[in-house]
Amino acid sequence: MEEIYRKLVMVFREVFDDEKIQIFSQTTSNDIEGWDSLSHMNLMIAVELAFGIEFTQREMTSFANVGELVDCIHRKMD
């Protein structure tokens, strides 16, 4: 899981163009400036490319926080 978080924070920093972003399991779109429904699609594509996985449409809109996103990445990588 730590490895996923380490890689995921780099993805967040690239997508939201902010080297100082920190993410935690409880982080939500309200905590990160610019994370709206439009930039969320950028984030999903970036996560798919970084981890070599694919989300379903339903999954893309189902994550309530970063923790749920990480759990999903973890399941798909297994």
């Binding site: 997508v15 610019g34 709206d36 439009l38 930039s39 950028n42 594509i45």
Partner: protein, 540 residues
């Protein structure tokens, strides 16, 4: 100028006047943060905080005619900053917090802002372009604990000890600039639309005539104050009229919005067709799980309201949705469906009682009923914009023979109802945001792998128009998801998330005329499978 011709400063009308009338303790705004934490802000609190901002700006030597930008998401500080700027007779320019560096730079260069008020999470975007903005003296950060240097300053530290009283003339010339709203054009940089303090009477008259909000009713305008709607009908008019209002600091979220309508018993709701269309996508069981019995009126602005939404709204909310039409340039609602006028679903409604609207041809002659033409207004209404900043020629081009040409095409039926057709230019209206294709193209051309590009808007059932990008790649360059991501992220960070194309299409060549101008009508025809028409001007 004789005293009879003076008007009251917008900030005076919004807050100070209420204090003078002994209503300082009255709640001005019920603020609901994105976290759903609620805060009741009184007129006295708005007065004190805006007085402190005004004192601070004055201490920096900022005053009449200077521009101060506000680069904040929806927060109470945005409103107190706006009011404080107006109190020193400076010009406020509220900018969308979604703006990327290019969008920000274009606007700050144009308005020569001497100061900008922002927050930590947005600071980096300003700092990245700060070296290109020699006139920007102060960056005031609302959530910084201490100053970073002589330019990047903590607003809380500065305000600590700043006097909370501020003397300023209540009355000023009606032509005194009050605020700038930027709007995109089909070519070139965005234009700063200048509005003046004298425009407030139309702001109040239009809100009264259209919304007809009664004593004891709760009002909710969902628009961001970076939009003319959010500033005029979310801040200026409701504060001045003493309307009981709620403001929500979060973004669109179907369940949260429906919860606000129910839990706060909202009576009058001013929102946008895209939000309504997104709600339409929700399961009907979700929509019906909420109680809308207190909702008395719904208004919509930003894009045409198609008949389908009207009928859906009537079924779900048991209320008609009233379309309203205006632009950054008109300052206030010009045409609307409103109480007392039967709605024709899909129409814009009728002009307000003091507005003269016409459908004219290119030469400025009236066209017969039911025939498409340019939507125009007789110039001189009170809230009419007074110029495009630094672009006098562009301003002049909007007027012919005493009529303002909106740039929109419409037609009028035999009973006086207006019906929207579309833009007469290439500006894209996506989810109520006007996006200039030039801005998106510029951001894409910054990417090394992109050789040429053209951007158009095409009809979309949810967004009204969606953005389509046509891209030329150099030989050997493949289009893949990595490159798509690069394009999307660059547009987000340089322009805005709202400017991200919904589709990217790789083409061999962009159709242009012999002088190199992109033939967008040809691309639109290609995309829609229609006849592109005359191609004689197209380059070989």
């Amino acid at each position: 100028m004789s005293d009879n011709h003076l008007v009251e400063n917008i900030a005076y009308q919004c807050v100070t006047k209420h204090i003078h009338m002994g209503m300082g303790d009255q709640t001005a705004i019920r603020w609901l943060a994105a976290s759903h934490e609620q805060q009741e802000i009184s007129y006295l609190e708005l007065e004190i905080l805006s007085n402190q901002i005004a004192n601070l700006l004055r201490s920096f030597g900022i005053g009449a005619g200077d521009c101060v930008s506000v680069f904040l998401p929806r927060t109470p500080e945005l409103i107190t900053s706006f009011l404080g700027i107006l109190k020193v007779q400076a010009i406020s320019c509220v900018l969308f917090s979604t703006f990327g560096e290019n969008a920000l730079l274009d606007r700050l260069l144009d308005n020569s802002a001497r100061a900008i008020i922002t927050k930590k999470s947005l600071l980096r975007r300003i700092q990245n372009i700060q070296y290109l903005l020699p006139k920007l003296e102060k960056i005031l950060v609302i959530d910084l604990d201490e100053h970073i240097d002589n330019h990047v300053l903590s607003l809380p530290v500065l305000l600590n000890g700043t006097p909370d009283t501020f003397e300023y003339p209540a009355r000023l010339s009606p032509d005194t600039p009050a605020f700038l709203q930027y709007t995109s054009g089909s070519t070139g940089k965005p234009k700063g639309v200048i509005h003046v303090h004298g425009g407030i009477s139309a702001m109040l008259d239009s809100m009264t005539e259209v919304m007809d909000i009664q004593e004891g009713e709760l009002y909710w305008c969902t628009a961001d104050p970076a939009w003319i709607t959010g500033l005029v009908y979310g801040v200026i008019a409701p504060l001045t009229l003493g309307v009981d209002q709620i403001q929500y600091g979060g973004a669109f979220h179907a369940v949260q919005w429906l919860g606000i309508l129910q839990d706060y018993s909202v009576n009058v709701w001013y929102t946008a067709p895209t939000a309504l269309r997104m709600l339409m996508q929700e399961d009907e069981q979700v929509l019906r799980a909420y109680d809308y019995s207190q909702l008395r009126k719904i208004f919509s602005v930003g894009e045409p309201l198609n008949a389908e939404i009207y009928h859906w709204g009537k079924r779900i909310f048991t209320q008609e949705i009233n379309d309203t039409f205006f632009q950054s340039e008109t300052g206030t609602i010009m045409i609307a469906n409103r109480p007392g006028i039967p709605i024709r679903p899909g129409s814009m409604g009728k002009p307000l009682s003091y507005i003269n609207a016409y459908i004219l041809d290119e030469s400025g002659q009236p066209v017969p009923a039911k025939q498409q033409g340019h939507l125009c207004f007789q110039a001189g209404w009170n809230s009419m914009f007074r110029g495009y900043l630094n672009k006098a020629e562009a301003y002049g081009e909007k007027f012919r023979n005493g009529y303002y040409f909106t740039g929109d095409l419409a037609w009028q039926d035999g009973d006086g109802y207006f019906w929207y057709v579309g833009r007469a230019d290439d500006v894209i209206n996506t989810a109520g945001h006007l996006v200039g294709p030039f801005e998106v193209e510029s951001a894409l051309l910054e990417i090394d792998e992109i050789m040429d590009v053209a951007v158009i808007g095409v009809p979309d059932p949810i967004l009204h128009e969606k953005i389509i990008a046509f891209i030329c790649l150099p030989n050997g360059q493949e289009w893949d998801r990595g490159l798509e991501l690069k394009c999307r992220v660059n547009i987000s960070n340089r322009v805005s998330t709202v400017a991200i194309p919904q589709e990217f299409h790789v083409v061999e060549k962009i159709p242009k005329n012999k002088s190199g101008k992109i033939l967008r009508r040809v691309l639109k025809a290609w995309y829609q499978g229609k006849d592109p028409g005359d191609l004689s001007t197209m380059e070989d």
